[in-house]
Amino acid sequence: MSDAQEMTLEEREASIGGIGTARKRKEDARFIRGQGNYVDDIKLPGMLHGDFVRSSHAHALIKSINSEEALKVEGVLAVITAKDLEPLSLHWMPTLAGDMAAVLADKKVHFQNQEIAFVVATDRYAATDGIQKVVVEYEALPPLIDPKTALDDDAPIIRDDVADNDEVGQGKRHHPNHIFEWQVGDKEATDAAFEAADITISEDIAYPRCHPSPIETCGCVASMDATNGKLTVYGTFQAPHVVRTIVSLITSIEENKIRIVSPDVGGGFGNKVGAYPGYICAAAASIVTGHPVKWIESRIDNLSTTAFARDYHMTGELAADKDGKILAVRAKVLADHGAFNTHAQPMKWPAGFFNIITGSYDIPVGHVKVDGVYTNKAPGGVAYRCSFRVTEAAYLIERLIDILAQKTGIDKAEIRMRNFVQPEQFPYNSCLGWEYDSGDYPTALKTALKAVDYDGLRKEQAEKREKGELMGIGVATFTEIVGAGPVRNCDIVGLGMFDSCEIRVHPTGSVIARLGTKSTGQGHETTFAQIIATELGIPSDNITVEEGDTDTAPYGLGTYGSRSTPVAGAATARAARKIRAKAKKIAAHVLEVTEQDLEWEIDRFKVAGSDVSITMKDIAMAAYSNIPEGMEHGLETTDYYDPPNFTYPFGAYICVVDIDRFTGDVKVRRFYALDDCGTRINPMVIDGQIHGGLTEAFAIAMGQEIVYDETGNVLGASLMDYFLPSAVETPEWETDFTVTPCPHHPIGAKGIGESPNVGGVPAFSNAIVDAFAHLDVTHMPMPHTQGKVWKLLNELGLNK
């Protein structure tokens, strides 16, 4: 205890490195040295390699598959087809959305590059040699690429396997290509509000199909140990426990005989939530061959087959009075889910939380209708760095309110001020069913406007317009709904979307904590240690955080939808508080006082009004040596947390662009992002998350699109074409914040990883459209490539 006398309270606080500390990321020490351990780094003795024969057609019957020549290739051991998996009932697999997806094409192919056969070989070169020798005979069928024609009477039927079913896991449907219809809100009252309103606006707003494109593609190493019947799968999983349960359900292997390990994962962004044929085939091949089998996606495979995002074709409408006060919102959406419904959302939410389209605004009434359809495109519909369909919703409302501003002649910042949910209205019940937890939207926007000198920018824009120059100012004031979620609302294959943390304090006062989440780059090893550090008064450097091994971590639902901090972070704080409660009893015992005599001070319990204290470090040793009678030894616990509500992070973003009227090139001059994620655990990690999220938002807004031609060929499925911006293209980001704690989270945190993507995309679009607003342009399709911007310039004759 000698340190205590030497250190001030502030020094002690600082030595903990707890909540609020801009602490360097612990995991970076290995990442920046190239010492990360990713799936493709895993090499097991006798390991084989598998890869796929893929469909060249988007829609065709498979007449035959001939593997004869492939099996003669040196190093090729097996060619697995649907026929081989059928006896194990593994040729189809259940999806997270209640549908079935083909593991290997069974009688027909539904999209280009669909998996047809799995070639297993001694190395990946031999596997490719074998793939080239497999001969597939097709009978081409007419492809269905445009979702707008999916429900036509004469549309080609994509899913023969379910053509006669009146539902495919998400409620009634009315066409063989229809997946679900989802409605929320008061249709009658909404229609009436539109009838009566002074002003209405309507716009078709498409959010194109894009792809999360993590730098590390998907992959796994499956290893069946024949001696004990245990299947270990190392893989790029954002939700390892869910994978274990699903594998058990579809293979009938008991869960204790399955170990799922997510090692270091190089980005997920939703792409690594689902289950893919590669996992099933690698596991089946390992069981059959008795060898570990590795499957690693190529970049083309990743971009063209594993989970895409968006592909929402929206019509949005607002009704308002003459002062720009919104009276009602209405949205109709056609959702292209591709060939199988493998979108990853909580199961009761076929369109995710799209009913957050009320955004930051106090809208009395609204109605939403979403129809999901099949097309001959890759399956998916995941949340790409956003909570479920929240980015589509935010994009829609943030574009619509800009259009309303243009229609009414009200400034785009001012119209938001007039419509904000006010701070005193929280908790706020939206007309579409959500209870917003907390927020202060006017302060956020006012701060942002001041920071960028908004009035000055508008003045400059007016001057530029006089000279024929194009400058745009984009405002986005978004609200997210994250932290899925309350078990009453949210489940995946019946599993409630709680999360968990187990904490063990060692006798010498250091800690290991394990969580049910899995960092794919978010920095959990750093930030969750900081929560424990503050709660237990143990330096964060002495706290190890582990995730991703289902044999050791407590059950959890994984990392996506900005749920780790809202859910597992809460479990972490609560587990630490349980430990502190026990520590207090031990402290009272050791100091021979009652618990009521003790008060907590940074890293110790102190007898009130005296110098007598005992540090958590000393309490830890006592927990293993000197405990009150009747108490169990040790200092460890687990907490499973079912959040009472979602969290609602928000922000105010302002983007300024200059457009070259001859080339269509858009230069982002300035991007200011104010985020409110409640309590800030590590400001440096938050800034990093915002920089990454804004860069992805920039990529989506300016260039990312998975394009198909009319026959279903996927175009540009490589990084030559798919836009991953480099440091050269990426604008500079200015970050700022306000703090409005979450009232129901133990430490008041809301989650940050996805806000910049959700708020960033509309900020870019709004800025670019704003550059043309004086010419009565209200909307432009994303992505805002040079060619598309030039097309508008050319149509308007501005490039002369």
Binding site: D129, Q132, V707, E729, Q786, W790, N794
Partner: protein
């Protein structure tokens, strides 16, 4: 995404390389920087039986001034072009273009010979070499020949280079002092090929353009040399109407394909716009304007 089976050869001299090319003919493929060839091999769009790596041949590297000619060894990297004092002084369009080719990692490997010999219309150096009226030295066991860049390109990945030949050097007539030159390129991102690009050289005397050359990248099956575009500014003061006429001529010569870089209409317009920008920039750099 793995290449097929091939034999790897790493000759130390030009003679050894030529012997291997003579031996393997169309089954042999020269590996220089590898940034076009290796990705095609990984996709198995190229499956050479013999890969002849010329990176160990020191004799292919270097940039030298031979008075009326600047000679660049085929194995010289884009990074070396970018940092060459000689080129900065006497032929600045090459470093200007190198800075717009891919990224530093690629420029450290990618060579000027590979860029010129590959025959991909997306490569940047062919148009520049055509504008500069450079010639290529092609060697084989049968001997050596010179061919003008303006004669070299025949179609997509089709050139005058025979299977047994190696492009060993690029010879550029040393530009006269005061020649203005510029390479203007619009692309989607670092590392991408041009939506369109234009190389311009022009000479001015007493406010009149006495000579000019204009060449275009990635708006046809090969780099293009629209003579009418150059003619439109020759003998003029390179005023706005002359620049417009040159841009119109460049657009008329362009036949881009529609791809994810843009529609035919857009890419054609950009060929005109890059021509415009390159003329204006070259003019600002030319003496006597």
């Amino acid at each position: 995404m793995t290449p097929g089976v091939f034999e790897y050869h790493r000759p130390n001299t030009v003679e050894e390389a030529l012997a291997l090319l003579g031996q393997f003919g169309e089954d042999g493929k020269v590996l220089a920087g590898g940034h076009s060839l290796v990705p095609m091999m990984k996709l198995r769009l190229a499956e050479p039986a013999h890969l002849i790596d010329i990176n160990a041949i020191d004799g292919l590297r270097g940039i030298r001034d031979e008075g009326d000619v600047i000679v660049i060894g085929a194995g010289t990297t884009q990074a070396e072009v970018l940092t060459s004092d000689l080129l900065a002084k006497k032929c600045p369009i090459l470093p200007e273009a190198a800075a717009q080719i891919a990224d530093p990692q690629v420029r450290n490997c990618g060579t000027i010979g590979g860029n010129c010999a590959n025959g991909d219309p997306g490569n940047d150096d062919p148009a520049i070499m055509m504008a500069l009226d450079a010639s290529y030295t092609l060697q084989s066991q049968d001997g050596e020949r010179q061919i003008a860049a303006r004669e070299f390109y025949q179609g997509i990945y089709t050139t005058a280079l025979a299977d047994n030949e190696l492009l060993t050097e690029v010879r550029i007539p040393t530009p006269a002092e005061g020649v203005g030159m510029s390479y203007q390129k619009i692309k989607r991102k670092v590392g991408d090929y041009a939506i369109a690009a234009a190389a311009v050289t022009l000479s001015m005397s007493n406010g009149q353009c006495t000579d000019a050359a204009i060449a275009l990248t990635n708006v046809g099956d090969t780099a293009l040399l629209p003579l009418a575009a150059a003619d439109a500014i020759k003998g003029t003061s390179v005023d706005a109407s002359a620049v417009d006429a040159a841009a119109e001529a460049a657009m008329a010569a362009s036949e881009p394909v529609e791809d994810l870089r843009g529609t035919r209409e857009y890419r054609t317009a950009m060929a005109g716009q890059m021509t415009r920008q390159a003329i204006v920039e070259a003019l600002s750099r030319a003496a006597g304007s």
